[in-house]
């Protein structure tokens, strides 16, 4: 395995609330190399998004972060605001869950595709546009010149997510963080976007931190997986290991509750088979 491009150690994120202070992310560590996909799975609220935002240093002001985050060897937690702005986008890209709201509705696709290049690479408008069009071609968008002239509302959800990915790719960052990139998409479109991510990994050697709550997605795309629960990583390892032989009870529970077509079709009979223990027992 290559040297880790991104390494996170002992990361915690705390919030001070009326009810006292609590750690939404509680001392997690992981590493991500180029050319691999690390999936972060876990239930809602387990701290997956906060982890990714910590890496970008885009946490909400109310959050307090501790720990070290190294990107390509640099500890970004000590960087000045301006220096961090140079890291963002250039060395680490991010795409978000909601393709519908993650693009600025009043700016053209061209503008949003090229601003990273112009900012980090100091490119001129035409050069940047050429590069952007190439990136759009890369993510499989037909008629990229046309799309450049359009505005987000004129694109479908799948197209927007591709644009988001393409925009992140223009700068060829070592790592791409994808926070539930397909949750808002239809399965058919999801499949295409996931294919695209796998292709990026193999072809361009990007490291991808894929955040998801879908075991099926993990199984199909990730190389390694880290299972998060209540701010902690409860289990991690290669996908094959973890999914075939879950060690932690939480992971086992996740696996058990996960419905896959194959398993469903196997067990079909009269009444739908129980997915959980009888009601009396879950009442605890």
């Amino acid at each position: 395995m290559a040297a880790p491009f991104l390494s996170v150690s002992d990361l915690s994120v705390r919030f001070d609330t009326d009810a006292g202070s609590f750690a939404a992310v509680d001392g997690i560590s992981f590493e991500l190399a180029r050319g691999e996909i690390l999936a972060l799975v876990g239930e809602s609220g387990s701290g997956k998004s906060l982890t990714s935002l910590s890496v970008m240093r885009l946490l909400p002001p109310a959050a307090a972060m501790t720990g070290t985050i190294r990107i390509d060897g640099t500890d970004v937690t000590t960087l000045s605001r301006r220096a961090m702005q140079d890291v963002r986008g250039a060395r680490i890209g991010m795409i978000f869950q909601e393709p519908m709201t993650s693009l600025n509705p009043v700016l053209s696709i061209a503008r949003q595709m090229t601003e990273g290049l112009r900012r980090h690479r100091g490119m001129g408008k035409t050069d940047a546009e050429m590069r952007a069009i190439a990136a759009l071609v890369d993510v499989g968008i037909p008629d990229p010149e046309g799309v450049m002239r359009q505005y987000p509302h004129q694109l479908s959800g799948g197209m927007r997510q591709r644009v988001m990915i393409a925009a992140a790719l223009t700068l060829e960052p070592g790592v791409l963080i994808a926070d539930e990139p397909t949750t808002a998409l239809d399965v058919t479109v999801q499949a295409q976007v996931l294919d695209l991510l796998v292709d990026l990994k193999t072809r361009l050697g990007s490291g991808i931190l894929l955040i998801t709550h879908d075991i099926g997605v993990v199984a199909e795309t990730a190389d390694r997986v880290a299972v998060m629960r209540r701010g902690k990583i409860v289990e991690s390892g290669s996908v094959a290991e973890v999914l075939e032989n879950p060690a932690h009870s939480y992971t086992r529970g996740l696996m058990a509750a996960h419905l896959t077509l194959d398993r469903v079709m196997e067990k079909r009979g009269g009444r739908p088979p129980r997915l959980t223990a009888p009601p009396e027992e879950i009442r605890s």
Binding site: R14, D16, D18, S44, G45, S49, P60, P61, A62, A64, M65, T66, D75, T77, T78, Q97, E180, T183, A184, H213
Partner: protein
């Protein structure tokens, strides 16, 4: 290195405190007016005519030798009374119209909405002015006029709040329970929009007080000898060079009161804004 923890203090912001403080003072003065005022606000020759502020007459005296301090204090009573009455009446009528428009069927909605929008496009001060011009000046007419001028605003607010609520699944669920529109609005919708409506009402309150003063200033509102602030200003305005205190103190009183309720309304609105209370849940 650890990022510095910026603690969010749970103290009320300055503008809320200022608003609350000033509003409390004004309301206290209004309620306690008879106790606070050293003189009968109507009594002529309580002191020399047009006397400058002194210990005997804190705010000086007016052209009839009435004690200005007593008049201003007493005016708080009137101004707040007008504001309150106008807002309550305007809110009741406007709110009802807005709710009816939102819940009484498509035809009613279309017609009412047209009317509301139309009236809403007229400046409220102009509506109030037109009404007193027709009804004639006086306390009651001015209050009615201001109340009416607030109706389109409240109707609009109530309507948009109700429409936002109408589309929510809980309202649809209540509909499925088979209850009638009346109960639906009363039991299910009102409690949910009441708070926002009241917040908007506080904003109307300050504009009602300003309108009242404006009407009096044009000679169309409360009439002398009533010590309504606008009326004091109107009848004292020509002493602006000779006895400026007749203008300064009631003017400051208006400013302070309106400022208080504006700040209060603004901060209430800010506090009631769900966006303030951070993301409660992410993902779908």
């Amino acid at each position: 290195m650890n990022a510095p923890v910026r603690r969010r203090r749970r103290r009320l912001p300055l503008n809320v405190l200022l608003g609350l403080g000033l509003a409390t003072i004004v309301v206290a003065v209004a309620v306690l007016a008879p106790v606070i005022a050293p003189f009968d606000p109507m009594r002529m020759a309580a002191g020399p005519r047009l006397a400058a502020p002194s210990l005997a007459h804190l705010f000086g005296t007016d052209e009839f030798g009435r004690d200005l301090f007593s008049r201003v204090v007493r005016g708080a009573h009137l101004s707040l009374g007008i504001g309150l009455a106008a807002v309550v009446a305007g809110l009741a009528v406007g709110g009802l119209i807005g709710l009816v428009a939102a819940f009484a069927g498509r035809l009613v909605e279309a017609v009412l909405l047209r009317v509301i929008d139309l009236l809403y496009s007229f400046p409220d001060t102009l509506i109030a002015l037109a009404l007193v011009a027709f009804l004639g000046p006086g306390l009651v007419n001015a209050t009615i006029a201001i109340a009416v001028s607030l109706v389109p605003f409240y109707a609009r607010v109530a309507y948009s709040l109700a429409v936002a609520e109408r589309a929510k699944p809980y309202v649809e669920a209540a509909r499925l329970a088979g209850i009638g529109s009346g109960r639906l609005v009363r039991v299910h919708v009102m409690p949910n929009i009441g708070q926002s409506l009241i917040v908007m009402a506080t904003l109307g309150f300050s504009s009602a007080i300003l309108s009242a003063a404006g009407l009096s200033f044009l000679g169309l509102g409360v009439q002398p000898p009533s010590p309504e602030w606008g009326a004091i200003l109107a009848s004292g305005r020509n002493y602006i060079t000779k006895a400026p205190w007749i203008l300064i103190f009631p003017g400051l009183a208006i400013c302070m009161t309106v400022l208080a309720f504006n700040l209060l309304g603004d901060s209430l609105r800010d506090l009631a804004d769900p966006r303030r209370t951070a993301p409660q849940r992410a993902g779908a």
